[in-house]
């Protein structure tokens, strides 16, 4: 009896969906983001960014004569939920393009579905594995963690720091970045002499850092981390009196990190996109107008500071819009081809040049090496 009730509930929701589809068809942008849960600090700015810019684009006439319609679901960072929502976006909401997957895990869960449904999919997550090997319908906006490693190691080499300790969290981002860093360290003549980790919800990393302190060979420490962990690492680092240079990853490239870590963050370096230092970029910088505009728009509307993650969503949406404009509509195959043909798109993450073998289109010049000075980010050199 109850089962029948659910059946009718399902029927009801189908018919609702059908009526909605009858309206003058807008272009549908589907997003599944980790708006709550442990990765909420990714999904939250991403969602806000998407909502704000979809509104703006519609206010200025939409794309190719059609309005945009944004459909967002919260996967709470759970890959299985992400998969179901991706499916819902593709099959029930019938979106024209997918933006999202705040984390690598949620992205990977949706990749086979997007491929199967032959729908362009722009991921907002970091791992190289998303676009390597190249998947026909899958693109991504953020730099990869490998590029971050390369940027950090290049900087270390320049400072003659060759014996390095890595401390990383146990989350997906952390582990992936740690793995990539271990792989490319040798290319820069850097040797990893200590390798520690901490749990995502840990409240104190003194124990791990004490071990690193006990290792006399260590000349620098790299924290491959994400979320609040790196801020705790930074504070414990200073409390324990560790004096060698500390590097963080692009995973904490936000003002929030500096706020949480407080004075302990002084001197910390990390690779990040131009967005974080929008206002101090030289005027000659190509990205300056884009990042300054986005930063001011976002901060004016939401009264909170921008993070690189919102920028990834901005780039994802704008890349899709750009491709649709060039494709003259929302035809999936045409949009995909147009995406792959993106050249010289200037976004918050860098200048994007996609090719058939590169579905990200960024190179390491997009990363800036930043340092915390007097509680603010400054460009190194």
């Amino acid at each position: 009896m109850t089962a029948r009730m659910f059946a009718s509930a399902i029927v009801l929701s189908i018919s609702c969906a059908a009526t909605a589809a009858l309206a003058q068809a807008p272009i549908k942008v589907g997003a599944f983001l980790s708006i709550t849960g442990p990765a909420a600090f990714l999904g939250d700015p991403e969602q806000k960014t998407l909502e704000m810019y979809v509104e703006r684009i519609n206010a200025s006439g939409g794309v190719a004569g059609r309005k945009l319609e944004l459909v967002v679901y919260d996967d709470a960072g759970d890959a299985e939920k992400a998969r179901t929502f991706a499916r819902r976006l593709l099959e029930q909401d019938k979106v024209d393009v997918l933006v999202g997957g705040s984390t690598t895990g949620t992205t990977m869960a949706a990749v086979p579905l997007a491929e199967q449904a032959q729908t362009p999919f722009i991921s907002l997550a970091g791992a190289v594995g998303i676009v390597e090997p190249v998947k026909k319908w899958v693109f991504k906006t953020p730099h990869t963690d490998r590029m971050a490693c390369e940027k950090v190691f290049a900087d270390m080499r320049a400072r003659k720091l060759v014996k390095v300790a890595i401390i990383s969290g146990t989350g997906g981002f952390d582990k992936s970045m740690r793995g990539e860093c271990l792989k490319v360290a040798g290319n820069f003549g850097v040797e990893v002499v200590a390798d520690e980790s901490y749990g995502a919800a840990d409240t104190d990393m003194s124990a791990q850092l004490t071990k690193i302190r006990g290792n006399a060979a260590v000349q620098a420490v790299l924290n491959a981390g994400f979320g609040q962990g790196p801020a705790i690492v930074t504070r414990n680092y200073r409390q324990l009196g560790l004096a060698m240079p500390l590097y963080q990853s692009h995973g904490v490239a936000s003002a929030e990190y500096v706020k949480l870590a407080g004075s302990a963050a002084e001197g910390v370096r990390l690779p990040a996109a131009a967005l974080l230092v929008a206002d101090i970029l030289p005027d000659t910088d190509k990205q300056k107008p884009v990042v300054v505009a986005y930063k001011h728009d976002y901060e004016a509307r939401y009264k909170s500071e921008v993070s690189a993650f919102g920028g990834h969503a901005y780039d994802g949406l704008m890349l899709a819009v750009d491709a649709m404009k060039r494709a003259g509509g929302a035809d999936k195959a045409k949009v995909r081809d147009a995406l792959e043909a993106t050249r010289g798109y200037v976004g918050t993450g860098g200048v994007v040049n996609m090719t058939a073998t590169d579905h990200m289109g960024l190179d390491e010049t997009a990363f800036r090496m930043l340092e915390v000075k007097n509680g603010a980010w400054v460009l190194v050199r």
Partner: protein, 291 residues
């Protein structure tokens, strides 16, 4: 490095003291009502987040911190009134679900009332670490340990010297007898929820300068507090303190000497071992035969 084990010990005791506060909360509620309140961890979060919000409005620390504890205590009373009191006759498992539902509700509410980002409270007394035989000790750690100590002493006095405290103990020993001698059991129940929530909030306020706080910070702390209460013996205050400190030090030493990835696993393996060898916890009373 002689400072190494000392460092682990200090770190472990600091975190362990917070676990102990949460565990005491579990025990107080359990003694009064036989309920395991899975929402206990949320009071830690509410304490921390309320303090952050109150400070943001410009209220000075001396008012904001007690204010945050009061907010949590009020929420505790409301939860008791709206959820637990109505379900007093429910079985153990539905009660577990009710408290889990309450914790989900509170987390959702915190998301709306506060926000989703991570916050830090300023420490009570500076940030410059003290050097104790080679171990770096943050002043806040001393605060955590000191306040926990004071609370444990105060609670002991409360439960043994005051009328209200004795009434609460009487209820936990024998509810029927307590009712017969004229103790208002419902009042006691409500008071224990308020007290447990306040204790959790104190933990939340104390730990936020070290470990930060956010709307979902309560899950893990609640879980660890529950484990600590179990480890020490559910319902026993000395047990809760011993359990909390043991768990904290084990975790810290596990991370330092064995594997930081397996530190939580180590803690739970030891907890399982203790449960299997001493099913009533380290300091719990042996349960009696049931016929």
């Amino acid at each position: 490095m002689t400072g190494m084990w000392l460092q682990f010990l200090v770190t472990g005791i600091t975190v362990g003291a917070i676990y102990a506060l949460v565990a005491i909360g579990f025990s107080i509620v359990f003694n009064a009502s036989n309920v395991i309140n899975f929402a206990q961890g949320e009071f830690v979060m509410i304490g921390g987040m309320s303090a952050v919000s109150l400070l943001a409005t410009g209220i000075p620390m001396t008012l904001a911190l007690p204010g945050a504890v009061a907010v949590a205590a009020i929420v505790g009373l409301v939860v008791e009134k709206l959820a637990i009191e109505r379900a007093r006759r429910a079985d153990v498992v539905p009660l577990i679900i009710i408290t889990i539902g309450a914790s989900i509700f509170l987390r959702g509410l915190a998301q709306l009332v506060f926000d989703k980002s991570v916050h830090r409270l300023p420490p009570l007394a500076g940030e410059r670490p003290l050097d104790v035989f080679g171990a770096a000790v943050v002043p806040q750690s001393l605060w955590v340990i000191g306040v926990t100590l004071v609370i444990v002493v105060a609670l002991t006095l409360f439960f043994h010297r005051t009328r209200a405290g004795k009434a609460m103990r009487a209820v936990s020993h024998n509810r029927l007898a307590a009712e017969l001698v004229g103790i208002d059991v419902r009042k006691v129940l409500r008071a224990s929820f308020g007290l447990a929530a306040a204790l959790g909030a104190v933990g939340g306020v104390l730990i936020a300068p070290i470990a930060f706080t956010s709307y979902d910070a309560g899950i893990m702390l609640g879980l660890k507090g529950f484990a600590a209460a179990m480890l020490g013996g559910l319902g026993s205050f000395p047990g809760a303190v011993a359990g909390g400190l043991t768990l904290g030090v084990l975790e810290s030493a596990g991370a330092g000497y064995v594997s930081s990835a397996y530190k939580d696993a180590i803690a739970f393996v030891i907890l399982l071992a203790v449960l299997l060898l001493r099913p009533d916890g380290l300091l719990g009373a042996r349960s009696r035969d049931r016929v």
